[in-house]
């Protein structure tokens, strides 16, 4: 009975959304028909938000990055905090996990040796992705997640590698504090929190786009260490403390 009510409710909500969004007089345009002229994103694409600044405004070749880290950097700071809180939660609730996780199948020789080759490559590509976040697609979050995946591989391939890496705790806190400090330096030099106080440089160069690469490297390090910490908490729990 519960399931039938749930299905009916879902159908009702779906109908409600569909009829309202696609009724004749709806201002919600179908995909691809919305004109960019009256949206804020047009200015983001043209980089013409603030005519008083040195043009081009953000200096980052990647439009998404310029929006995510520069125009709406405050949101990114918030999202980093969301991940931070979630990692803390895993650490706090990790106590539920009373014994070490072991797998039914022992990792074999091939996985063990293959890991040593692959981990380095994954780590390097992860770092490459967040260092080049302002030039190419990617950035701090995907790069950090890749670093986390390298550590997942380490945990899976080696039974003896089950120590929590204490340095990650420090790195996580340090990267987070530095993000806030970069923001506060902007407040004291430019008068606005997260103000871009570094020169923009030439578009396409590695050292360009002001504080964007700085923030993205910090975000990448923070996300990477947080994901690795979460994995460590899941694999080890509270056993070793």
């Amino acid at each position: 009975m519960k399931k039938i009510i749930a299905i009916l409710l879902t159908v009702a909500v779906a109908l409600f959304v569909f009829t309202n969004l696609y009724s004749g007089d709806s201002d919600f345009k179908a995909f691809g028909e919305k004109s960019l002229e009256e949206t804020v994103s047009k200015e983001f694409v043209n980089k013409t938000v603030d005519p008083q600044r040195v043009q081009p405004e953000t200096g980052s070749a990647n439009i998404v990055t310029s929006i995510v880290v520069n125009y709406r950097g405050f949101d990114t700071m918030g999202e980093v905090t969301v991940l931070f809180v979630s990692a803390l939660g895993v650490a706090l609730l990790g106590g539920v996990l009373r014994k070490k996780v072991t797998f039914r199948y022992k990792p074999g020789f091939i996985i063990n040796q293959g890991m040593k080759i692959i981990v380095g490559i994954i780590l390097i590509s992860g770092i490459y992705i967040f260092v080049h976040g302002h030039l190419t697609p990617g950035g701090g979050f995907p790069g950090g997640a890749m670093i986390g995946s390298a550590f997942l591989l380490m945990y899976l391939s080696d039974d003896k590698f089950r120590t929590r890496i204490a340095a990650f705790k420090v790195l996580e806190g340090l990267a987070g504090s530095l993000i806030m400090i970069v923001g506060l330096v902007g407040l004291s030099t430019g008068g606005y929190f997260l103000y871009n106080f570094l020169p923009n440089g030439e578009i396409g160069q590695l050292l360009s786009a002001g504080i964007v690469p700085v923030l993205y490297v910090l975000v990448g390090l923070k996300v990477g260490s947080e994901v690795s910490n979460i994995l460590g908490d899941f694999f080890i729990g509270e056993v070793e403390e």
Binding site: R72, V85, L184
Partner: protein, 475 residues
């Protein structure tokens, strides 16, 4: 004068530092809380751009009289909560600092998506803190409903962004009246449902009983005052100023608010446990305040919001402390408990009397104004408000009599029936109780200082034109 972004940045910075210097986290938490509580009074008003990008392109913080008074109240309440939950902090110090930053951001932000981010921060922190009660089933329910609520809110602002191409609150409030009716209905419904989960409105509040009913001296006052005040304040901002619903939908919203009020007060009447009773009372108050915001009685809504927040601090602190010390909070077993701790009894009594709106206390002004603005509309809304308030009055007075007076109802009281309960570590609680009691009595006799500021805040909420020109003035 203090730049409001510091109220977000400093707590976050402290939270990150406390990860690798854990010994200092105690100092950091109290230091940050005292800093925000004091600097709330010296907050610079106006619009503050983040990164120097002017609205609607960048994100901005908005300090008008409305967010000013809410920030002061929330940061004071947070400090009182810390005092109440001093012995429960344990490993939660970092999370508490993040909550402080999140709740300040939630109230100050002028951007709908940024609001979502801060909403995520405080709800996720909320799940983690709630899990410290070991009631994992209720926490899981909260997790599912809270996440659903956030997603619904996100969907609502997605529709708005797809239609208007902007996320800035001022920009949206300017363009919203001209949007076609169907988009209005869909975005309002989803935003309402999404925020309704945190604000504890009726169809979305199935999680509240399990979470509020199992609180500790830390989470009790935190959820019922800090979180609730923040959520309802955002509700007022969004539906009072930014997305003002038109006549058809607003009746549905008012009806939901009133139904929540009446049902919760009736459930509270039947509650046998103190924390459960307070939980239902909290839900009822949320329904009442949201109704007031919806019918346009901003002044009354704000007075009641502040009145309820301060009253619930001491009520929940006492109830959770009693449970913590004795492992039980059945009201019948607590008879005469106030005789053992008179100071707490004084604070509790004054707070309760103010909450139900008796004359001589601050809450009286809330009830009077509420009825005035409701009678200006029609007869049904004030009738229901009076009905709910009478129910509330009855169960609270009955509770007070029980707690002061040992013995069965209708029989002569005797010291034999005195409760065996004790309150452990009660010093900070007595301090809070006396402090809040004095605030209520003084503000009941000389209400001018508070009411003037609240009136200013209510004016700034109803004056959308000033908000618009402050934010978008430069364009």
């Amino acid at each position: 004068m203090i730049n409001p972004v510091l109220l977000i940045a400093i707590p976050l910075l402290a939270a990150f530092i406390s990860v690798f210097i854990q010994k200092l986290s105690w100092v950091l938490l109290f230091g940050v809380s005292i800093f925000t509580a004091i600097s709330g009074f010296f907050l610079q008003k106006g619009m503050f751009m983040i990164g120097g990008w002017k609205p609607p392109f960048g994100i901005n913080l908005m300090i008008d009289d409305y967010s000013f008074i809410i920030i002061i109240v929330i940061n004071l309440l947070f400090f009182l909560t810390l005092l109440s939950g001093m012995w429960e902090l344990k490993k939660n110090k970092t999370i508490l600092m993040v909550i402080l930053a999140g709740i300040n951001g939630l109230v100050m932000t002028g951007d709908l998506f940024n609001l979502f981010v801060f909403l995520e921060i405080i709800t996720i922190s909320g799940y983690i803190l709630a899990a410290s009660s070991d009631k994992y089933y209720s926490v899981f329910k909260y997790l599912v409903l809270g996440t659903l609520g956030s997603s619904l809110y996100l969907f609502g602002i997605m529709v708005l962004y797809g239609t208007l191409g902007t996320l800035n609150m001022a920009d949206i409030s300017q363009q919203f009246p001209n949007v076609s009716g169907s988009v209005k209905i869909i975005s309002l419904t989803f935003v309402f449902a999404g925020l309704g989960v945190e604000a504890k409105l009726l169809p979305f509040n199935a999680w509240v009983k399990g979470i509020y009913g199992n609180t500790t001296p830390l989470t009790g006052p935190l959820f019922s005052t800090v979180f609730a005040t923040g959520a309802i304040a955002v509700f007022g901002r969004i539906f009072g100023q930014i997305l003002v619903p038109d006549s058809t939908l607003i009746f549905a919203f008012i009806a939901l608010g009133l139904i929540t009020f009446i049902f919760a007060e009736t459930s509270a009447m039947a509650s046998k446990k103190l924390r459960e009773l307070l939980t239902f009372s909290s839900i009822g108050q949320a329904g009442l305040i949201i109704t007031m915001f919806m019918i346009g009685g901003f002044y009354a809504a704000l007075i009641q919001l502040i009145n309820n927040a301060f009253a619930k601090t001491i009520l929940f602190s006492y109830a959770t402390k009693a449970y913590k010390s004795n492992g039980d909070d059945t009201i019948n077993n607590m008879s005469g408990l106030f005789r053992k701790n008179v100071m707490m009894g004084f604070g509790f009594t004054v707070a309760t009397l103010s909450l139900i709106g008796l004359p001589l206390f601050f809450g009286f002004y809330a009830k009077i104004n509420m009825l005035q603005s409701a009678f200006a509309l029609n007869m049904w809304i004030p009738a229901l408000i009076i009905l709910g308030s009478i129910i509330e009055g009855i169960y609270y007075i009955r509770l007070l009599v029980k707690l002061w007076n040992p013995g069965e109802e209708g029989q002569e009281s005797s010291e034999l029936a005195q409760s065996q309960f004790v309150i452990k570590n009660g010093f900070s609680l007595s301090l809070i109780a006396v402090l809040i009691g004095i605030i209520f009595v003084v503000s009941g006799i000389i209400p001018d200082f508070l009411t003037e500021n609240i009136a200013k805040a209510a004016d700034s909420l109803s004056d959308a034109a000033t908000y618009l020109s402050t934010v978008l003035g430069g364009i």
